[in-house]
Point group: C4
Chain length 268, copies 4
């Protein structure tokens, strides 16, 4: 039993890049099922497909939930092999409340809950939880760990720039509301409504459903566009430069092996 | 009396990051009230909320103005503790005309003025002044000092690039006016009207309310978009790179402490 | 015969920048014909021009195909001069399946195929293949080799960021679908349909044909715009910085010649 | 006479930053008149202002042309003081065909020509030439010399990236034309018409007057947006980074003075 648990742990939790044999096969199978789930979640909302392949969608849903449930229970069972969660009860409990385990749980729990739900509105909301199955892929993709690290490292800058974005948004929207409200009382109906204009204008999306029409409003809109775009571009700029830095460091550290003996030059 | 003034000064004006005890509590209270004011200013323009919570909005307004007035008067009183404003009269006068004090004043003065105003248009304009209460938060947030420094440091570049933006805007709009006026006399009615197109096109907002329809106009619009976007992106690029540089310097200087004795390695 | 093949090989395949005499003339002629083809492909779709210059378009098409066919056969014939393809049969076959030869083939083959095609739909699709004639210019332009190198070098980053873009797109569109579907069942009709909104919003194009109208949808749209734009800007940022790096390296290596003897200082 | 010419040359042609006394006054006067011309050119197209201030606009036009004509003739007269144009006849002729002299000429010549023009269409086109008066300001503003230098230095990169932009535009528009033409024959009427979509989509302006509606068109539009935006951002990225580099070099060279004797450390 102990041996089985140890083997299973190695199969399920070996980190990407080091997987061999059965571990590789099981993880590729998991990635395939998650990807198929993503496709199913997206396509089952197309009425035509939903009608034609209703049976397939339903069967695949049952299979996925079953598969994920077994996988989840096994992961909880073997989690004690990890030093961090070695206590049979408290360790497993702590594992259950770790982020990846919570994502795994939220990806399957709504299905069971929806069996007992009678309110259609609740069933619809529960269906939305299936999106968490997509987040499960983050366990396997290098890209997610990368962006997580970038966000963690640039946390301070992102908070600072988001503060400025929110502040700018409130100021610009407040002024624009007082300027345009009289001319377009239905569109610039309140400051929160004007903030929708503010976001679409300063992210430069500009759907065109709401925009100033008075000369003063256009003047202020132009000024605040030129000024505000810079602030709204701050988070984007921080993310892009953080991403570039990270990749550079990664590529560098990868070449930090002795050309003669092949051993890493640092123990990082 | 002198002792009280000194204590109050320390409570009110201790710079962020060094606040302890009462100073921390008072400043957190101030930040809370300012944030609540921001929320109230935004939400009271929503007709539904305004009707339902009219009483609460009004009471909160009275409370805020009262609180801010007392705070303002105390700040003026204790300002002489600052070396820059040590003269009992001229020092306080100079403090009153400093930027933060003016913002504090503009945040409360319109309320008193509106009590005597009979013209509804003036009351509306005075209400707009309440936005200055938001600017009061700049006293507490690190982000504002940062962006202020970036703007100050990159002042020259920002002026240069803004000159280019304005010049490009006039040139492109003038040409487009002569090209499109005949085809759309109501939209491209004058060069100032065409400048609204110029801003929305070259900031890439593109609401779609005004755009060329003649082949020549579209050709020129395309050319000037590809060329002009680069110029309009200059201020944004300058701001983003300035922001990144500042953060880098800040992080560096923060780590400039001796790992053994903990003393700063530079006296910056 | 052998001598002729060698001469022809030098005329056709001398790399850009080293062409002299006949090689230069032939290659300039080729570039001119390809450029004229690009203009013809674009203009023949304008009904007015197509009617008026139908004869010219047709004759030019015949001439181009003839010219390109002769050129293609000559290139296959002389390809054995290249060390990589020295075998008379297998070498030529391998050349035929190399990327540039495939582009050359796809640029002319559809013409011959369309002579036998009776279905108009197929003829239209075959006409689309003429676009491959534009790709032929990549043989001559420095810009294409540059961007190819940049893409090759930044391959990993581009794959990582594209993964994030697709993931973000599915997540945001799924949530938005559940939020907006009830209010706009015709526009947000399914998740794939909502993904069209997602792309236009997060690339900041914002045509305005589809956008949230419910308060919750607008709120989520605003949040995801500010967050998502950063992710969607990653590929752009990677490409721009890669392009800049490449040019810098190129300029540097170009100046790496001894100012006295003119010999390269490195053997890179 | 010779002395007067020398003095006038110094007054008119002293480079910015070194102007003193009369030279400073004359040049400030010129800048003022050019700026007023810019304002007049923009405002006279507003019907209301044009009607009310017709007399003022006309008188100012007469005054400006007279002033600029005298200035132009004086500049030609004194141009021989410059070593480059020292020959009394050929030197002046070469000056007349220099870029700044041509701009000065194009800023006034159309006025004289329009006195003899009877065709209203020609008069309108001649009026457009007045925009050249704006370009005259480039003589005085630091920003223009800066951007000129950046463009000159990054010429190669800008040509390369523009090549890629044009190529991408033709490819994407050709494919989109074949995909969308059947569904929207009036909007995607030809490849040139589709190129208008291509420009608005890939510069992310997105007016919304033209966009794909078929599922395949939307799919291709999404793909090409994500891919094409990177290419279209290349010129912008090059301009922004070139601008930043230039400013950095400028700031550095400005501080390259000996702190002891105040003399420049380099003779650059």
């Amino acid at each position: 039993m102990d041996h089985l648990r140890k083997s299973l742990y190695r199969i399920l939790e070996t980190s990407a890049g080091k997987r061999r044999g059965l571990s590789l096969i099981v993880n590729l199978l998991l990635i395939t099922i998650i990807t198929l789930n993503a496709i199913a979640i997206v396509l089952h909302t197309v009425p035509e497909y939903n009608r034609r392949f209703a049976r397939i969608f339903y069967d695949f849903e049952l299979f996925s939930v079953g598969f994920f449930t077994v996988e989840y229970l096994l992961r909880v069972w073997v989690s004690v092999e990890n030093e961090k969660y070695h206590h049979p009860f408290w360790g497993r409990l702590r594992y259950v409340f770790s982020t990846p385990a919570l994502i795994d749980f939220l990806a399957i729990f709504p299905f069971y809950f929806s069996l007992f739900a009678t309110d259609l509105a609740i069933v619809r909301i529960l269906r939305l939880f299936r999106i968490f199955r997509l987040f499960r892929i983050s366990r396997y993709s290098h890209a997610f760990r990368l962006i997580q690290n970038v966000v963690a490292e640039k946390k301070e800058e992102l908070i600072l720039s988001t503060t400025l974005v929110i502040f700018m948004l409130i100021i610009v929207s407040s002024v624009m509301y007082y300027v345009e409200h009289a001319a377009q009382p239905d569109k610039f109906s309140s400051i929160p409504a004007t903030m929708w204009w503010g976001v679409t204008a300063m992210t430069t999306v500009g759907y065109g459903d709401i925009h100033p029409i008075t000369p003063l409003g256009k003047f202020l809109g132009g000024i605040s566009a030129i000024m505000g775009i810079g602030l709204f571009a701050l988070p984007t700029g921080i993310l892009v430069s953080g991403f570039n830095e990270h990749i550079r460091v990664q590529k560098k550290s990868r070449s930090m092996y002795c050309p003669h003996c092949g051993k890493p030059l640092t123990d990082h």
